[in-house]
Structure formats: structure tokens, C-alpha cells
Symmetry: C2
Subunit: 258 residues, 2 copies
Amino acid sequence: MMTRKKPLILVTNDDGISAPGIRTLIAIMKEIGDVIVVAPDKPQSAMGHAITINNTLYFNKINIDDDVQEEYSCSGTPVDCIKLAVHEILKRKPDLCVSGINHGSNSSINVIYSGTMSAALEAGMEGIPAIGFSLLDYAWDADFESSRSFIKKITLETLKNGLPKGVILNVNIPKLTKDKIKGIKVCRQANARWEETFDKRTNPQGRDYYWLTGEFVNEDKGEDTDEAALENGFISIVPVQYDLTAHHAIKYINDWNI
Amino acid sequence: MMTRKKPLILVTNDDGISAPGIRTLIAIMKEIGDVIVVAPDKPQSAMGHAITINNTLYFNKINIDDDVQEEYSCSGTPVDCIKLAVHEILKRKPDLCVSGINHGSNSSINVIYSGTMSAALEAGMEGIPAIGFSLLDYAWDADFESSRSFIKKITLETLKNGLPKGVILNVNIPKLTKDKIKGIKVCRQANARWEETFDKRTNPQGRDYYWLTGEFVNEDKGEDTDEAALENGFISIVPVQYDLTAHHAIKYINDWNI
């Protein structure tokens, strides 16, 4: 009789290895395959695709809960975690990498700033099918349970079908109870943006300093966007890529006098 | 008689405000318009699109050389510099943002890790035409003079023609003397990658630590790539975008059972 080999799944995030979001994701992935966790030892939100080149990297084998998965906490960024996992920790290339569940949205333009999604993109660059999962709730004690069956379904379909070369999935989940989630929609990234304001304060030494704050503005009224899907109670899947070439602009610039 | 208004140009980089690369870029831009510099107070290479959300931001009005441009050094990342410049420092939206000249390549996949290019992308997201310039020489005393006339020409053409919405230019310059540079080519991003290796060492306390190192691998033999242009002695221009949607993959995933 043939034994069906379990897939090897690499799990990471940007909220840190002890965040409830990644603990839920680990639990879901253990129903599907063999899990190895390599995640930051502290919060690394909004780190984008930063890597550590001017400093040293450390990692520790640890065990956060009583379960048996192999876990490593890493001193670097989410992208560092992927590089360390693939080239130093794992004995073979994983069959899948999942990142998250992020505490907070990575829809539309947030994908650019997101450590969660940058880790998934990095795995994609290494040739590993990769998915980033985010819940539209920034709270530490957010309800991740409602999304479990959807995350499992998307993961199983990804393992079954594979992903086109260079394509990574950005999955965002509305803050709704399971019975209120209407389904899953494949979308394009909404053309939304942050309108920044800086909160100016003065420190005890009399020097001005600033906190970055901002308002999310979506002027993209397309019904095929991730923002539209989420507003209407659907989980959004945006297939994203790390080839940033704006192919449509090549001819335009070729007509310049250069 | 009508007075022709000079364009307002925002200059930034990721190597830090005192790097020779940005000093050359400032000098070139002063031949074209009014220049305001907002750049990191220390090196911020490989910071990608990181932003500072869990810490305070500072900026100082300074004057690095004897010239008269307005300059601010900022405690944050290159992307922070753009946000602070646009929303706190500048009195009006600039007509152009240029980032660089980076000490080292930002061609092909390097665009993803690059603080220089992330600053340019952020400016593009703010609706400002933006260009990142990089020289394929990591040396602090690299020869930036050879590229001056090319940078000026690309900048003037960008100001004259404008850029399509959501498109930013990634310009890379080969390490060649001016007479050896064959011209300028508009390209797509090569599908190249870094093959990482970790240099493992032991610290004085007996704990293992790692340095990220790696080898650049380009298996993309396309003649229309930035890598091909640079290898053949041309300056490469890749139009890039922050809409990461892999539009070609939407139909594929829609056919899944989800």
C-alpha cells in the first residue's frame, strides 16, 4: 500500500511568534501537514520587504505551546525568517509557506507595507507556493476561529492545484462571524491609499517629534477589487506578483527622446 | 513677459543624507529646478517599504555643503522621509521626486528590497512623478560624474512628458566611464534572484549567529531585461508599479473549488 506523504508547511508572520493569529494558523496547518514555524521573536509589522544586512541574525529553537510542531524564533524581519528557514533550518524545500494570520488588514495598498505579505512574497521568490492570511481586526484577542474553515479550504486548494510561477496569494478576511461570511472572491488590488497626518508632539527635552497616523482612502469604485469584496462580507483573494514591471508603460517611455 | 516657473524637486535616498550619491543627485537637480532634500540621517539600505509606526520620528533642518538648497535629515526610513516631506515639510506638492543615486544596483529583483526604490514608489503612490537612480558600484567613492548627463536627460524627459498614473521609473547605470555607456534602454525587470548562504559564526558568549550573504543568479536570458541592457553597457529604465495584482492569475484561481 502506498503511503501518502504529508506536505511540509512553513509558517511565519510579522506580529511575532507568540501572536494568537500565528497560533491559530499553526493549528489549522497541523490538520493538513507537517509544520515548521520560523517567525520573528518580536512584532515586525510594517517592515515591508526589509532584510538584515548590516546586523547579525539569531534564531532559537523554542516551544510556545504543548503541541509538537518544530518552532524557531528569529531576531530578524519576516523576510529574514524565510531566508533563514529555507537556507539554514529546513532540511528540504517546503511544499507550502503560509504567513499570518495577520492582526489587521493587508488589502489593497497595505500589501506593500506588510511584513506578513513580504514574507509570503519572499517564499514565492524561492519557488515555494505561498499564501498570506490577514483578518480585518487589529485586536490581539481578535476572533480567528470564524476563519478556520475558509483558511483550510484555500490552503488545500492551493496544495492541490499549485500556483502559477511568480504568483502569491493575498487573502484578507472580514471581521465577521462565520455565518455572516458570504464566501470567497478572487479580486484585483484596489487602488486605495493612506492619507497621512503626523501627530506632532514635544518631548521632555523640548524637541519636536512625530507619530505617523493616517486615514485609509479608497476612491476605487470597481466591484472587482478586494476592498469591494470585503465591504460586502466576502473573503478576498488577490493573486500578487513580485515582477513590478509596468509592461503597459514600456512603449510610452520608448517614444521619449532619450 | 511670462516667468517660467521652476519645478519643485524632492530628493531622497537610502544611503543617508551625506552619501556622495545623493550629493551628486542634488547638484544635477539644482540645474533643473528648486530642490528640497529630505533624506535619512543614517544608512537605510535594504529597508524595503518599511515605515515607522511603533516609534517616534524626528527631523532636523541642516546644511551639509555650502550650497543653498533646503535640507532635512530624518530619523526614519526612506518611505518615512517621503511621507514626512509631503505631509509635514513641503508647502506644496513637488513636481518630481528623485531618489538616489544609490551606491549599488537596484536592477531586477533588487527593486523589492531597495529603500531607494521604495521611496520612489511611495512618492508615486502620493501622485508625484518619481524616479529612482542607482549606480552599479557599491563603493562610497564611486564615480557618479559619468552618469550626470544621462540622469539630467531622463529627468527632463520625465518632467516634459509626465508618467502614466501609478508608474515609477527604476533607472540603473552600469559602472562605466561616460564614453563607454552605449545609451539608454527601456526594459522589463529580469526574473533573477538571490541564492542566499548564511555565514555562521559564534559570538564571544558561545552563541551561534548568522550573517546574510548570497549570490545573484540570473537565469532569465531575455534580451529585453534590465540585466541584459546593463551587461551590454546600456543604462536600464524599468517602469514599475505598486499594483501587485497578477491579473493573469485571476481566472486560474476562479476555476478552483472555493
